[in-house]
């Protein structure tokens, strides 16, 4: 069923073609070549009746309802499959057409009687409205065999399939194939006996279905329909907003019902005009929004003097007053630099900007950092050093022009599902894929897609692998010399070339390190360098290493040397984890940088902020998150304001983190839930979900999109208002009346944002920064013509093995990742029905390693590293190589970060989550292990009852 505010055009817009003018029912209309007659008609305001067409799918031409007459042509062509031609004269209404259409509908309703009352689609069903359009109220056929009784498949928690309502238009099948790329559905049988079936005629939950919901939205009737709609609450309002889960940043229409005082989100429908997602979504964004109204939400502020005391619910005034008195006391006693703050990649740009402003202007230091520290800080450092800007180079749509996709350390079908689907579309069109990953991610082999090369390297050897690839490119003369000569610094290029040419960097020499046969590496390098447009996509499997920044630079080197930056179809593209990682970095969340990545020691930038903010600002960089922990243990850092980030669960080496947290005198946590960090907090300030506030998020392609308030903040304030309360109480006045005023300030102070405003965002839908006088509508592709830094700079990227080594005590390497249905620490997704797909974290272990340890699938295993130990269940799988084990980190019970180490990226201190030496043993007493480990960690503290 379409979104409330959707006007369907029947077929998609073609890729821009020359204009063609034609007439439709006497109206003249001009459209690009390649447009269907149906779409041209819709654009001219004439909706041709249709059932098997919708504008996210390729025209199929099966229902024969959209027939038209074209002057000079015989018969009745289908308008969905007929393309426009100059001078065409099209008639969409005539007695003959009417008769034909009535005949079609008559047949449909013989099997799907128009008994619409009580149906979830009543009033929005396309069959119902087409029948009305052609004046059919019931079938003229004698009652014969109908598809009933057939059982409803309600196995999926979010949607149901009622085969009795199915008209076998195959829109669902095509949505699953073309849009999602999962190929879970088929039409079984022929003629009257034909029916839709999931996988091997299984219930949806047992099939290959990944619950993206594309089929549900494509269905013209209620055959596939959201369960939330079966309650019959009318949808009265449609609000366009942006998903708050991953860095794809899908645009959605939130359909709301209920009363003005108690609005209720009934459905989230991906926005077909959404520039990032083009009408697609995944199971998280489309369905998993129920956490916002979950009963675990802590809606009252709370305080306590010590973390060993129980919480006391208090008024906002008292909570803010207490927090501020503590910050003042601590600064008076230990110095101005003894306090700091952490911004969140989950929060809006405006909120993030305000937290860093609070720290810099009201706390008077630069001790502000963000959770991007632990994921993509190496991206910022690596891309800024080489190319000159701390962001990905392309728009997502650029992948449509890619010929060779080099995917390293990312698992887009799970981590960035909607972009994963876009990538699969391109791969099905014939683009080649190189996967560099220790694990056989789904894209290595999935329906109609197979990687040309899977370089299954040892965790921690990315830089060696990238050097080996570069060696081949240089030594086999595959570089693009004119490009490099024109655009890059010659001395750095010469140094780099000499370095990668050294025999020790050859694939043969490095095969022992990476574990990948040299001939595979050579073939992959040749393909990337010579296969046409080469596009690099990477994720946390690149950044979360002791050489994370080095690897990012190595990727940029490779792209520059082969001329693969500065146009469509190429580039170096970080797949950002959280919805607003890019934004939180852009907004000046790092301790050394103001918004727009200007160093705090830069006198010009500082003067600009000092003048605007009316205070003197510190010219010295502040503490990063891991440094804050160190300084806390040292006694020089005593108070922390954490907005929307669960550092205790998400940061590595939990035992170290908890000791640091315990050492602090005032921790202020602002969050939706009493998270793990709240156990160490003295002040709890209720947060607001993305449905409760206005703002913007910036996705992985630098795209700024609006977040719009759908319901009032459940605890009374949006997050940015709470930061204002703190600031005002501290004596540094902030008086924004709306989030747009914060964006106006960001635009005034940030050269890459000067052209951004809410008015323009409303007008254009979204904007990719830089957006300024030079690019008033934003910048889809960066580094066109020249690099932002002037000349591109190559860096020598010596491979240095991680300090984390296997030995006889810890013989396996643990690496981590995430899965589709859960999101990061899981605080949101665990509080939705998504748990049916993944109710616990599992440890994947190769059959060989499992066998030698006597471990069977499903056994409890103890996982121990030099840092700590935890317990989880084993899944025996050959997706992972022998010697390597893999887990996700979505559940606090797993405490996966208890085992991760203090090792971190040399440049940014981004933790090395992806490589930990471990031992795995089979255990029989899981609870005893877990209790022992937990007791060591939580001795004496008052825990959140929900987690006890």
């Amino acid at each position: 069923m379409f979104a409330l505010d959707h006007h369907d055009h029947g077929t998609a817009a073609p890729v821009a073609g020359a204009p063609v003018t034609l007439q439709i029912d006497g109206h003249e209309v001009t459209v690009p070549t390649g447009t269907s007659v149906m779409r041209a008609a819709a654009l001219a305001g004439v909706d041709v009746p249709k059932l098997c067409a919708t504008d996210t799918l390729k025209a199929f031409g099966s229902c024969r309802l959209c027939l038209v007459q074209i002057e000079g042509r015989r018969g009745y062509p289908a308008s969905c499959t007929t393309l426009v031609e100059a001078g065409m004269k099209v008639t969409t209404q005539s007695p003959q057409l009417h008769k034909l259409r009535r005949g079609v509908i008559d047949l449909y309703v013989s099997d799907h009687p128009l008994e619409c009352e009580g149906c979830p689609a009543d009033g929005h069903c396309e069959l119902q409205s087409m029948a009305a359009a052609v004046g059919v109220t019931h079938s003229s056929y004698a009652p014969g065999a109908v598809h009933r009784p057939l059982e409803v498949d309600g196995s999926n928690p979010y949607f149901q399939f009622d085969p009795q309502l199915c008209i076998v238009c195959s829109r669902c099948v095509r949505a699953c194939d073309e849009v999602q790329g999962t190929f879970a559905l088929t039409v079984q049988g022929r003629g009257f006996a034909s029916k839709i079936s999931a996988s091997e005629d299984q219930p949806f939950m047992d099939s290959e279905c990944v619950s993206c919901g594309a089929c549900v939205e494509a269905c013209p009737t209620a055959a596939l329909s959201e369960k939330a709609l079966t309650r019959g609450v009318p949808r009265t309002q449609a609000v366009t907003t942006t998903c708050a889960y991953c860095g794809v940043g899908c645009s959605f229409t939130a359909e709301v019902g209920g009363t003005a005082e108690a609005p209720e989100v009934l459905r989230m429908v991906p926005n077909r005009d959404g520039d990032a997602n083009h009408g697609h979504a995944c199971v998280k964004g489309r369905f998993a929004y129920g956490y916002a109204t979950h009963s675990d939400r802590q809606l009252k502020p709370m305080i306590r003097k010590s973390i060993r005391e129980p919480w006391r619910e208090v008024s906002w005034d008292e909570a803010i007053g207490y927090a501020v008195s503590e910050i003042r006391r601590i600064q008076a006693k230990y110095g101005r630099d003894a306090v700091g703050g952490i911004t969140s990649s989950r929060c809006t740009n405006e909120e993030t900007f305000l937290v860093q402003k609070l720290v810099r202007a009201a706390f008077g230091n630069n001790n502000v950092d963000t959770c991007a520290r632990v994921c993509h800080s190496p991206t910022g450092y690596g891309l800024k050093s080489t190319l000159g800007e701390s962001a990905g180079t392309q728009a997502f749509t650029s992948v449509r022009e890619a010929d060779v996709i080099l995917l390293i350390g990312a698992n887009p079908t799970d981590g960035h599902p909607v972009f994963g689907s876009q990538m699969k579309q391109r791969l099905r069109e014939g683009a080649k894929l190189i996967v560099i990953d220790p694990r056989a991610i789904s894209l290595v082999r999935t329906p109609h897609v197979a990687a040309t090369f899977h370089l299954q390297l040892q965790p921690g050897t990315n830089v060696a692998m990238l050097n080996a690839l570069a060696h081949v490119v240089v030594s086999e003369g595959l570089t693009r010399e004119p490009y490099v000569a024109e655009r890059c610094e010659a001395p750095s290029y010469q140094r780099w070339k000499a370095f990668v040419s050294e025999p020790r960097n050859s694939p043969e020499a490095l095969a022992e390190v990476t574990g990948v046969p040299a001939e595979l590496v050579r073939a992959a390098a040749r393909l990337y360098a010579t296969g046409g447009n080469g596009a690099i996509y990477y994720g946390l499997g690149v950044t979360e290493h002791s050489q994370g920044s080095t690897a990012v630079m190595a990727l940029a080197n490779l792209a520059m040397a082969t001329g693969n930056i500065g146009r469509e179809g190429v580039g170096v593209n970080p797949l950002r984890g959280q919805n607003n990682v890019q934004g939180s970095c852009d907004m000046g969340s790092f301790p050394h940088e103001f918004s727009g990545y200007r160093h705090v020691s830069d006198p010009v930038a500082r003067a600009l902020f000092e003048q605007s903010w009316g205070v003197r600002l510190d010219a010295e960089p502040g503490l990063r998150i891991p440094n804050m922990f160190e300084a806390a243990l040292d006694g020089t850092f005593r108070a922390l304001y954490v907005q929307g980030e669960d550092i205790v669960q998400s940061d590595p080496d939990t035992n170290h983190v908890t000791r640091a947290m315990e050492a602090m005198e005032c921790v202020i946590v602002q969050d939706l839930f009493l998270n793990e960090t709240a156990q160490f907090a003295h002040v709890f300030l209720p947060g607001s979900s993305f449905l409760e506030k206005d703002g913007t998020f910036t996705n992985a392609e630098r795209r700024i999109s609006r977040v719009r308030r759908v319901m009032p903040p459940r605890a009374g304030y949006a997050d940015w208002e709470v930061t204002m309360l703190l600031s005002n109480a501290l004596g540094y006045p902030m008086s924004y009346r709306h989030a747009s005023e914060i964006m106006d300030e960001i635009a005034r102070l940030t050269p890459t944002f000067t052209g951004v405003s809410y008015e323009k965002l409303d007008r254009l839908g979204s904007i990719q920064w830089p957006c300024n006088d030079a690019a008033p509508e934003g910048t889809p592709t960066m580094h066109v013509g020249h690099f932002v830094r002037g000349k591109g700079r190559f860096f020598v990227t010596e491979y240095v093995a991680t300090p984390e080594r296997v030995n006889s005590r810890f013989p396996l390497i643990l690496t981590t990742g995430r899965i589709l249905s859960q999101y990061n620490v899981g605080a949101q997704t665990r509080r939705t029905d998504n748990v049916v797909w993944h109710a616990e974290d599992l440890l994947e272990i190769h059959p060989h390693d499992a066998e030698t340890r006597g471990i069977a699938d499903g056994d409890w295993v103890g996982l121990a590293s030099r840092s700590g130990e935890t317990v989880l269940r084993a899944r025996v799988s050959d997706r992972i190589a022998p010697g390597v084990v893999y887990t996700t980190f979505h559940f606090p019970q797993t405490q996966a970060n208890v085992v991760t180490t203090e090792n971190s990226d040399w440049a940014t201190n981004c933790p090395e989550y992806k490589v930990t030496a471990v031992q795995v043993v089979r255990i029989s007493q899981a609870e005893a292990w877990r209790t022992r480990a937990a007791q060591a960690r939580y001795a004496g503290r008052t825990r959140d009852p929900a987690h006890a």
Partner: protein
Amino acid sequence: MNIDRLVKMANEISEFFAAESAREQAAEDVAGHLRRFWDPRMRRQIIDYLRTEGGAGLSELARHGVERLAAGDPPGA
């Protein structure tokens, strides 16, 4: 702060710049990195560690880098 961690970090930074640049430049790059990214208390501590405790555990380049840093970054700054 835990000086062992600071030493480890300084050494890792040096490992990168050692590969990247000529010796004098490398020391300058190490110092520049510390100046840009380390908060003053961390810089002070590593400088003190080198000056008053001899800087055991620092690699040769890290040591040079910290000396450069100290030259432009007076103690107690």
